[in-house]
C-alpha cells in the first residue's frame, strides 16, 4: 500500500516596506496611516537614542550590564501599536523597550532596572506589563496563563502578547507554552524576535528549522514570518493575530526576522564571533532608515523634521537619565519588605538586626553568649 501525505504546510514571509523604503501599496492597504508611521518612526528614534545613552551610561560606570535594542525596534513598535494599551498584557523578555514605553511603562524605569534596582519593575497601576525577564524563555508560560485567565473570565476584548528571541525557542518552556496555549486556545500572540544570534550562537547552530515560524506548525498554530524591520508587516501580522485571539481563534505565532545590530549586552563583544560583513549588510536594513525613506517619499518627512526629532529625543532621554539617577537610594531593608504580604517573624528579626547583629538573630541571644552565670548554666 503506498504511503499518503497526511500533513503539508508552508511558511509565508510577509514584507510590505522594503529596505529602500518602497511600499507595497496593495499589501499596505488598511494597515498604517502616514500619521501612525510618523508616530512609530518617532518612537523608534527616541528608543534608539535611549539605547545609545544606556550604552554610554554602562561604559562610564553609571549603569550595569545592558542589552541594546538597536536594529530591532520595528518589531517592538509595530506590534505594540496593534495591541490594546491598558487592556492587553505585554509579557516581555528584554529587547523590546519601545513596546513597553508605548504601553505606559515610564521610560526611566528601564534604566532604574538595569541600574540594579527592582523599583524599575514596580509596575504603575493600570500598566499591564510583566517585569523584564532575564532567564530565557520562562515567561512565555506566564503569558499563556494570563491569556488563559482572560478566556476563563470570558473577557472578550483582552489579548496577550509575549516577546522572546530565536534562542528561547530551544527552551523546554517555549514548547510548553506553545502546547498549553494551543491546546487551551487562549488569546495569545507569540512574537519571536529572530535576531539570528543567541549571544554567540547563530540560528543555524541553534536549530535545524529553516524558519522559527515553522515550529508553530507542530502545535497546530497559525504562523507567519514577517520582515521584522518593516513596521507595516509587523503591525499587520500582529493586528491579524490579535483579531483572531479575541474572536476565540486561539494563539498565533509571528516570527519577526530581524538583526541585533549591537552586542548581546554591554558585557559582550560580538566582534569575537560575527563577520563584520554580515553586520554591515544588516545596517543597510535598519528599520529607521527605510521608515524615514518612506516618509520622505510621501512628503511627510524632511531634514528639518529630523533635526527637530533628534533634539526632542536628546531632551527626552536627558530627562529620563535624570529621573533614573535622581531616584533616592534604596534602603537595605527594602530587600525584606516585599518578600511576603506579611513578613514572617524570622525575617522581621533579620530585617531589624541586619545592621546590629552579625547573624541577623534575636539580639537577646547576645546576652546569653557572654559569660553566663553558673545558675544560668543549669
Amino acid at each position: 500500500m503506498p504511503t499518503r501525505t497526511v500533513y503539508e504546510a508552508k511558511i509565508e514571509h510577509l514584507q510590505i516596506l522594503d529596505e529602500e523604503g518602497n511600499l507595497d501599496k496593495k499589501l499596505a492597504k488598511g494597515t498604517l496611516t502616514d500619521a501612525q508611521v510618523v508616530h512609530l518612526y518617532e518612537q523608534m528614534r527616541i528608543c534608539r537614542e535611549l539605547d545609545e545613552i544606556a550604552f554610554k551610561l554602562q561604559r562610564s560606570g553609571r549603569m550595569g550590564t545592558y542589552p541594546q535594542n538597536k536594529g530591532q525596534e520595528a518589531n517592538a513598535v509595530g506590534s505594540a501599536l496593534a495591541m490594546k494599551k491598558g487592556t492587553d498584557w505585554l509579557v516581555s523578555a528584554y529587547r523590546e523597550n519601545a513596546a513597553l514605553f508605548m504601553h505606559g511603562l515610564p521610560m526611566h524605569y528601564v534604566l532604574v532596572y538595569w541600574m540594579g534596582d527592582e523599583r524599575g519593575s514596580k509596575m504603575p497601576e493600570g500598566v499591564n506589563i510583566t517585569p523584564l525577564s532575564v532567564p530565557i524563555g520562562t515567561h512565555m508560560l506566564h503569558a499563556a496563563g494570563i491569556a488563559w485567565a482572560a478566556k476563563i473570565r470570558k473577557e472578550k476584548d483582552k489579548a496577550v502578547i509575549t516577546y522572546f528571541g530565536d534562542g528561547a525557542t530551544s527552551e523546554g518552556d517555549f514548547h510548553g507554552a506553545m502546547n498549553f496555549a494551543s491546546t487551551l486556545q487562549v488569546p495569545l500572540v507569540f512574537y519571536c524576535q529572530n535576531n539570528q544570534w543567541a549571544i554567540s550562537v547563530p540560528r543555524e547552530r541553534q536549530m535545524r528549522s529553516e524558519t522559527v515560524a515553522q515550529k508553530a506548525l507542530a502545535y497546530g498554530m497559525p504562523t507567519i514570518r514577517v520582515d521584522g524591520n518593516d513596521i507595516f508587516a509587523v503591525y499587520k501580522a500582529t493586528k491579524d493575530a490579535r483579531a483572531r485571539a479575541i474572536k476565540g481563534g486561539g494563539p498565533t505565532f509571528i516570527e519577526g526576522l530581524t538583526y541585533r545590530l549591537g552586542d548581546h549586552t554591554t558585557a559582550d563583544d560580538a566582534r569575537r564571533y560575527r563577520d563584520p560583513k554580515e553586520v554591515e549588510a544588516w545596517v543597510q536594513k535598519d528599520p529607521l532608515i527605510r521608515t524615514r525613506l518612506y516618509l520622505e517619499s510621501v512628503g511627510k518627512w524632511d531634514d528639518k523634521k529630523q533635526k527637530t526629532l533628534e533634539a526632542r529625543a536628546e531632551k527626552i532621554t536627558a530627562e529620563v537619565v535624570r529621573a533614573a539617577e535622581g531616584i533616592e537610594p534604596p534602603v537595605a531593608s527594602d530587600m525584606f519588605d516585599s518578600m511576603y504580604a506579611e513578613l514572617p517573624a524570622s525575617l522581621v528579626t533579620q530585617r531589624n538586626t541586619m545592621r546590629t547583629s552579625s547573624i541577623g538573630q534575636n539580639p537577646e541571644q547576645a546576652g546569653l553568649r557572654a559569660n553566663p552565670t553558673a545558675a544560668e548554666r543549669v
Binding site: 499563556a144 488563559w148 502546547n179 518578600m339
Partner: protein, 324 residues
C-alpha cells in the same frame, strides 16, 4: 461530626473553596474526569465544570508556569503536581518566578497560588514517586511550605494556603491519605500557617516531626517505658518554622529528637537543630538527635521501609538522646 480521611478532607476543602471563590481553578495531570491519580479531586470537575478543573498537558513546568500567569491575572490557581518526584521540572518556575515575583516588582505583581503535591514514601510506589523534598523549598525564599499529617489540619491548612496572598507548596503525605479517619467539621475553618501542634505533652524529651512520621513517632512512644514522658510536636508548616513552640518545649525538656523522611544532610532537621542551639543552648542536656532518611536516593520499594524512619529507629533515637 463526620469522620473523613485525609483525601476526603482535602477534597472537601477544594470543593468548598471553589464554591466560595469563583477565582479558584484546579489544574494538573488527570485531575479532571479521572479525579486525580489519588482521587483527591474526584467529582470536582463534574460539579464545577471543565473550565475550572482542568486536565492539562503533561508538563509540570507548564502547569506551574501557567499557574503563575493565572495568578498574576487575578485568579486563584491550585495546581497539582502528581508526585513529589515530578517537582523537578516545575522547580524553576516555582522558585525563580513564583517565589520572586512579589519582591522583584516591589509588591505590584503577586502570585497567590497553592501547589498541591503528594509526598513521601511507604506506599510501594514506582521510582521517583516517594521523595520528600520539603527542605529544598524551605531553603527557597518567597514561598511557604506546608505539610499537614491529619485530616483536620489538612482541611484547615489547605483553606489557609489557598487564601494566602503568597505562593504555598502544600505537601500531602500519601501514606496517610487513607490510613485513618477523624472528625472534620463540615463548615469553613482555617489552621494558621506557621503554627506547630503539640500532639502529646511530656517533660523528658521533645520529638519534632511532620507529615507521615508523626504516626511512626506515636508508635515508637508506645514502645517506650511508661515513665518516659515524650512531648511530640507536629510542625505542620515547614516554613515559616514555628520556632517558638519548639524552643518552649526544648527549654522544658532539655532534649530533642528530630524525625524526617528526607535525607539527613542539610535536611530540615539541620536547620531546626541549629535554631534549638541558638534558642535553648543553656537548657540542652544532650546533643540534638536526628532520625532521618539516609543520604542515598530514595530506594525502590523493596528497600523503602529500611530507608524510612520507622518506629524502631525513632525509638532508638529517643533512647540514645535520653541516655546521653
Amino acid at each position: 461530626m463526620p469522620e473523613l480521611t485525609l483525601v476526603q478532607a482535602i477534597n472537601q476543602a477544594l470543593d468548598q473553596e471553589m464554591t466560595r471563590d469563583e477565582r479558584m481553578v484546579i489544574l494538573g495531570e488527570d485531575v479532571g474526569l479521572n479525579g486525580g491519580v489519588f482521587r483527591v479531586t474526584e467529582g470536582l470537575c463534574e460539579k464545577h465544570g471543565t473550565d475550572r478543573v482542568v486536565d492539562t498537558p503533561l508538563d509540570e513546568s507548564g502547569i506551574m508556569g501557567t499557574s503563575i500567569g493565572l495568578a498574576i491575572a487575578g485568579m486563584r490557581p491550585v495546581p497539582e503536581i502528581q508526585f513529589d518526584g515530578f517537582l523537578g521540572p516545575a522547580y524553576d518556575q516555582f522558585v525563580n518566578h513564583a517565589g520572586r515575583m512579589r519582591t522583584r516588582t516591589r509588591g505590584s505583581i503577586t502570585v497567590p497560588l497553592t501547589v498541591r503535591v503528594p509526598v513521601g514514601g511507604g506506599i510501594h510506589a514506582p521510582e521517583c514517586h516517594s521523595d520528600s523534598p520539603e527542605a529544598i523549598y524551605t531553603h527557597s525564599a518567597g514561598i511557604k511550605v506546608v505539610m499537614p499529617s491529619t485530616p483536620y489540619d489538612a482541611k484547615g491548612l489547605l483553606l489557609a494556603s489557598i487564601r494566602d496572598p503568597d505562593p504555598v507548596i502544600f505537601f500531602e503525605p500519601k501514606r496517610v491519605y487513607r490510613s485513618f479517619k477523624e472528625e472534620v467539621p463540615e463548615g469553613d475553618y482555617t489552621v494558621e500557617i506557621g503554627t506547630a501542634k503539640v500532639v502529646a505533652e511530656g517533660d523528658d524529651i521533645t520529638v519534632v516531626t511532620w507529615g507521615a512520621p508523626v504516626f511512626q513517632c506515636l508508635k515508637a512512644m508506645d514502645e517506650l517505658p511508661e515513665d518516659v514522658s515524650v512531648e511530640l510536636i507536629d510542625l505542620r508548616t515547614c516554613w515559616p518554622i514555628d520556632v517558638d513552640t519548639i524552643a518552649e518545649s526544648v527549654t522544658k525538656t532539655g532534649r530533642c529528637v528530630i524525625v524526617h523522611e528526607a535525607p539527613l544532610t542539610a535536611g530540615l532537621g539541620a536547620e531546626i537543630s541549629s535554631l534549638i542551639q541558638e534558642r535553648c543552648f543553656l537548657h540542652l542536656q544532650a546533643p540534638v538527635q536526628r532520625v532521618a532518611g539516609f543520604d542515598t536516593i530514595m530506594p525502590y520499594y523493596k528497600l523503602e521501609m529500611e530507608y524510612l524512619p520507622e518506629a524502631p529507629r525513632i525509638q532508638k533515637g529517643i533512647e540514645e538522646c535520653l541516655a546521653y
